[in-house]
Symmetry: C2
Subunit: 577 residues, 2 copies
């Protein structure tokens, strides 16, 4: 209720959105960063004629589109919100898309709560929006001063928020959020030319208009004791509708040119880091698909997304060291049908885990690349080593998790990531690894490769541990043990047929991963074996002790995931130890 006046005036002529054609490229975008204001959002949809009273009353009921917090199962909702501090960064992504990708004059309106202004991600958005000159972005902050448990840090101190926003480079407007003339004047000002984004800071009262709750604490998210009385106070039962303005400009989004071309080829026996193959592959993919864009968290010379940047500067976004804003921007871009590839060190994708989680609720289609996985990075130490990324990314709804071991495999997985629904994650390695697949080899999401056949025991690895597994197979062969080696490059979905065959045809399975023991490649194998009732001895090798610095080989050995450790585990399985 605190933001109802703000939204009523917005809908009455300011917002330009054709509710009957929600995917019209020229539509404005309205993001409720305070997703718990969903009753207001759905009431706006009702007032605009997009939904009817019957549907409005299904709010929060099983099977309803009107969930407790908005999600894109409603066509007028770009992204899911409900985890605070995410809507504004996503709005930055939409506004960047409008200016640099779609190249259409739509506006992005974001309703923020004042409680969520405490989230750092909000201030990443403030910084990036001003830095990028996003004059098509308007944030409306509903400063009702009351959070869930009590007053915010700054109460109704609009000047505090204004000073911070101004320091970031925003135009600021402070108003009484229940004074309709002030609200109109604010929108008028916010839509006059500017060289950057505008924030409207509106002093409001929580529960405005209903005496039993207005400006009172401890009323957050609780039903009213006397709803009839409240309706009476608000003016009685009415059926208000509003004619929402249509977009001023018709027409399609901009399209970039893509001359086509081949994916990179690497010769068998040469060496290349999979992170470098990512950069070369992504550059090539940019030549083949005009919708592919890239973002990076200021490590593009490590992830090699710099190669895409240099080839396709108009489709590259430097997000600096702000991983949350990077993922949020990618989510905004994919909402307008671009295909983002966002990259940083795999360890630092953990900074944006809540954003990745929410991206899945947003039904986002986007691609992530995390480099420098595992102890194999060597000297930089554990802060830079992703050892939990397979677990965390597997536990994202509908995700794809890939972990290639050579250059050709890496490059050939990229077009499939770009085609895939949902969130796909590619884990790459720091060091160079030998090219073991010819350039013409094909790789499916959900597939695997038997890179060496053998009937005694099966070794399952991926990335750096695939190469260690091959070396272990050599060691075992010297002892007369024929090891089958499976490259499980698709950790999710996982190739159940090949694993089940291995369980049936060999005397046991050793899995090996440069990752903590929990939730990674080994657990993926155990899961599929259980699901297919494949009862076979399995040894899981993974990193157990906290590593330090050292050479990659020293750390692989210390972790017990190098060839010697794999061969030893294989012997133990065969001996029933």
């Amino acid at each position: 209720m605190s933001a109802a006046d703000l939204m009523a005036v917005l809908l009455d002529g300011r917002l330009r959105l054709d509710f009957s054609r929600p995917h019209e490229p020229g539509n404005d975008h309205l993001v409720f960063s305070k997703g718990h204001a969903s009753p207001l959002l759905y009431s706006c949809f009702k007032a605009a004629g997009a939904i009817d009273d019957t549907e409005l009353l299904t709010f929060r009921k099983f099977g309803s589109r009107l969930e407790g917090h908005p999600t894109p199962i409603l066509p007028w909702v770009d992204v899911a919100t409900g985890s605070l501090g995410q809507g504004l960064p996503v709005g930055v992504g939409l506004a960047l898309t409008g200016k640099r990708l779609d190249q259409l004059p739509y506006r992005v309106w974001v309703l923020c709560g004042d409680s969520e202004m405490a989230e750092g991600s909000i201030w990443e958005a403030f910084e990036h929006a001003a830095y990028s000159g996003l004059d098509n972005l308007v944030a409306i902050v509903d400063v009702n001063r009351l959070g869930q448990t009590g007053e915010t840090m700054h109460g109704w101190d609009l000047d505090y928020y204004a000073a911070k926003a101004k320091a970031c480079g925003w135009r600021t407007i402070e108003i009484d959020g229940h004074d309709l003339e002030q609200i109109e004047a604010a929108y008028d000002q916010a839509t006059t030319p500017s060289d950057g984004p505008t924030v409207i800071l509106a002093r409001t009262k929580k529960g405005k208009g209903v005496g039993a709750v207005e400006d009172l604490p401890d009323k957050h998210g609780k039903p009213l004791d006397d709803p009839d009385q409240a309706i009476e106070e608000l003016g009685g039962v009415r059926d208000l509708t509003v004619e929402v303005a249509k977009p001023t400009v018709e027409g399609a989004a901009h399209e970039f040119s893509a001359p086509g071309g081949e994916l990179p080829h690497y010769d068998l026996g040469t060496e290349i880091a999979t992170r470098k193959a990512y950069g070369e592959g992504l550059r090539a993919l940019g030549n083949r698909r005009p919708d592919v864009v890239a973002l990076d968290g200021e490590v593009s010379n490590s992830t090699f997304s710099a190669l895409f940047r240099d080839a396709h500067p108009e489709r590259y976004f430097e997000m600096y060291i702000a991983e949350q804003q990077m993922i949020a921007a990618a989510v905004g871009m994919q909402a307008r049908n671009w295909r983002p590839f966002a990259s940083t060190f795999a360890a630092f994708l953990s900074r944006a885990y809540d954003f990745v989680r929410m991206a899945a609720v947003s039904r986002a289609n986007m691609c992530l690349m995390g480099s420098h996985a595992g102890v194999a990075i060597g000297e930089d130490g554990p802060s830079q080593m992703a050892l939990e990324d397979l677990a965390s990314m597997r536990a994202v709804h509908g995700s794809i998790v890939l972990y290639p071991c050579d250059g050709n495999q890496t490059a050939r997985l990229l077009p499939q990531m770009a085609d895939a629904d949902g969130i796909s994650y590619l884990r790459t390695s720091r060091g160079a690894t030998p090219v073991i697949y010819p350039p013409e080899e094909s790789f499916e999401i959900g597939g695997s490769k038997v890179v060496r056949d053998g009937g005694d025991i099966t070794l399952v690895g991926a990335g750096v541990t695939l190469h260690e597994s091959l070396r272990a197979a050599d060691l075992l062969a010297e002892e007369g043990v024929q090891a089958r080696v499976i490259d499980l490059y698709s950790v999710k979905p996982v190739d159940s047929v090949t694993l089940r065959e291995a369980a049936a045809q060999t005397g046991g399975i050793v899995t090996v991963e440069d990752h903590w023991p929990e939730g990674g490649l080994g657990d993926a194998v155990l899961d599929v074996l259980a699901a297919t009732d494949s009862l076979v001895p399995v040894r899981k090798l993974a990193v157990h002790a906290l590593p330090g610095s050292g050479k990659p080989a020293e750390l692989l050995q210390q972790a017990g995931i190098d060839a010697e450790a794999i061969a030893k585990a294989a012997r133990q399985v065969l001996q029933g130890a």
Copy 2:
């Protein structure tokens, strides 16, 4: 090299730290938020006489304490850094500890890079430090303008940073970071009385003093071509030492009183939400242990940490909706031997996942509580449902993951969490569940309970799914099937003995969890069965489809994790289907 002058002057009389007694309570704290400046930090230790030349030259070598990024295996390092934007929020935690817990006049000095000023977590720290009046905190920002790949967003625009810091309420000092007099004056000013924190913004040059790299791009993290020439330029080989000042105040940290008292008792057959038992248990624990402190992310009336707040206000920290700052503050507090319990919705702990990951590298001892787990929360929808927390928290090095099903179990696990090394995580539920354990029952970390015996099949659940499993056992009993039900409240470490017995003594195992299928309770069971060569059919029930809103029972049914689904899976296992 850009920050060497800043640190040299700091060590020469400003920093008060007895290197020979690193755990002296009155010592100042020096945090390198830019952890990649580790060579400078280690050089400071060398200059202070804490380490010798021989050890200094082990930098980044296998087995050395001098890792690529600092960690607390060095006694003068409070916390691990290397994931940017974390040192300052941890510094806020240390400064809060100094003022409100230790009640000692030590200062906290944090060296920040300018690249990391793009992280939102830095601005959470700026906001909280000023809000809490932390006049014992000094941030020194090394504005060398060059990041890893290029220039930062703001280059040498010190005024930009100063305006933002001022708007947050900080005292700001802008200097030339290579002018020793200006540096001295800045420290003098920073240590004069104030009502809040101070930031020194220092304009510096990357690679200062060595012509081959000074203020040049593309030199980040790369060895010098001609180190001898560089040493010559820097003044030649010397053996500089510095007498670092000792703390001015001797003496112990403040101790709170803890009168003792009993943990809460709940009567069998009554109902209570485990999140509420957490609040009541934590309040009681605060009476028993004076070192226990609590933090919450502005949902204390949902997590019931408000009960601790009301009983022990001096040991409660409201962190507002800033989960990263909340975890960082907890890490800072535990570095001074307090035992923090930090709580929010389990879904929103994902916001701070990188901080939890780094806390493990910091060897932090702290307790986390995530409420509102799984689809069982009902109407609020998927943005509020933690469905990945078991996976992500299991994949934290050395972590403990607990998921109680009743009030007595919850309360009795809390003292054990407070005693445990490492990071322990407690998952709680929104809705009330029946009390099934008597108050005198004891629960070990790493244990489980066989809550119903039976020899035909085993059902393994925890939290809400334990109650569904009991109901499934009733359904199966009606059909003459005797199901054993295991309460796997300790998801990590996991009770291998009881699970192995179940595998040996019953015809199969059904695991059931209110969580995605990846990395949770089911995978924990498969892992232990594989490790013990227990070959038994296992069916894993978990949430597969993205849920919406609805009543808890509707959502449990839809997800296929309610009693009926469990009974059905058990029948299938028994029929070999």
